[in-house]
Subunit: 217 residues, 2 copies
């Protein structure tokens, strides 16, 4: 269970906040618009009316204790940048900020924001690409016959190599990755001689009728 | 080469418009904000200052000739709904509209909009999930070492089976799908005995250093 601060309860910020709360984490939201705070107050842990460019307000929140902070102020670029600077001075561990324009994003990166996102720009590109030619992910997600699944490695697969398992030949299943249990980095596109370790999560794509045989879907 | 109309040159609309234009299609953009139209005019085929809720303006655009129309008006929910109704009356073939709220989206669906998108809400959920536990797609996209690539099958691979090619053993590359050239359905998670056909596009994930060996990235 982690603890997050979301600054700005617009469409993007409120979606991040609600989703994190539904996933079981503690979520505090601040916004200087009281109506929005009231609307979201029963969908998150705490919702407080506050001005994100006020050092006093931010200080009182215990900024450095949050696992990550999502800065979701859009049109007011100056407020977004000022809030980011204040958060970094207050030792915020990890800041994800929404940027209005590429220039806004560059400034945020330069001052030390860890990750910058462009929701409208990215979704715009995604829609354009899906009009042009659906991506493989679109196809798999939209297809009723195939799925991408993540399953804990069954005992009879642990200790075997990808080559031994021969899932493609036996079930037409493609292993895309092994998420390691020991906290190590995910093994993307594992090699033929890589072994499945206890607790690994197998990430694979395949036809539902074959995934069903393995009870993977 | 297709023909698209984008209504609303905000962050989302302008991103759709630019991307479709870069992909080689004809793109017309309308917005009632002249400054935004001037800013985008050399990045799309046509950019016109017009009011999307004016039947006369829309009529003059030849709405039914566009392959799809992207309705990207955000905060003004009434304008978005009115524009959608007018477009459907003018026999728009395919409308994708951005919705401000779930209720706005429901109304758009009810009046006949073909697809409703929620860029900020969806990106908010995506960010929340990637904070909670990064998806395999996040990991691959964020990783500097791996890529998902789509490449036309090289001649020396045509006619060979997935098993013959043995890409995982030789290069640690996972073939996720074969997009067929003959217009047939994409072969997702191809079986070991499936052959690579002339003109197929191979969709694969692998480490960049190995993809580079094949000149696939
Ligand atoms: N100084 C500030 N302190 C606290 N909240 C702020 C401040 N400035 C803006 N906000 C809040 O941030 C939220 C998002 O900002 P805004 O609506 O400008 O951006 P947006 O990019 O259109 O948002 P979205 O696309 O997420 O709906 C708003 O609810 C606004 O009240
Ligand atoms: N009646 C209208 N006719 C033409 N354009 C319009 C009309 N109403 C709004 N627009 C334009 O639509 C664009 C997007 O609308 P708005 O900025 O309200 O939404 P938004 O959801 O915040 O946009 P985005 O998130 O894409 O930046 C604006 O550029 C605005 O000028």
């Amino acid at each position: 269970k982690k603890s997050y601060l979301v600054i700005g309860a617009g469409r993007f910020g409120s979606s991040v906040a609600r989703t994190l709360y539904e996933l079981g984490h503690d979520v505090m939201v601040i916004d200087n618009n009281e109506t929005l705070i009231q609307q979201i107050s029963n969908e998150v842990t705490d919702a407080i009316t506050a001005n994100a460019v006020s050092e006093t307000s931010l200080k009182s929140l215990g900024v450095r204790d949050f696992d990550a902070i999502v800065l979701a102020i859009g049109f007011d670029i100056q407020a977004s940048i000022m809030a980011a600077i204040l958060l970094l001075e207050l030792e915020a561990k990890h800041i994800i900020a929404k940027a209005q324009t590429e220039l806004h994003g560059k400034v945020l990166h330069k001052i030390g924001v860890h990750r910058v996102v462009y929701p409208e720009r990215d979704m715009g590109q995604k829609i354009a690409h899906s009009l042009n030619a659906p991506t493989i992910i679109d196809l798999i997600e939209l297809s009723e016959e195939y799925s991408v699944v993540e399953v804990t490695a069954p005992e009879n697969m642990v200790g075997k190599t990808i080559k031994d398992l021969d899932l493609r030949a036996r079930y037409g299943i493609s292993v895309i990755a092994l998420r390691r249990n020991n906290g190590n980095k995910t093994n993307i596109s594992p090699a033929a001689e890589d072994k499945v370790l206890p607790g690994d999560i197998i990430v694979a794509v395949g036809e539902n009728k074959f995934l069903k045989k393995l009870e993977w879907v």
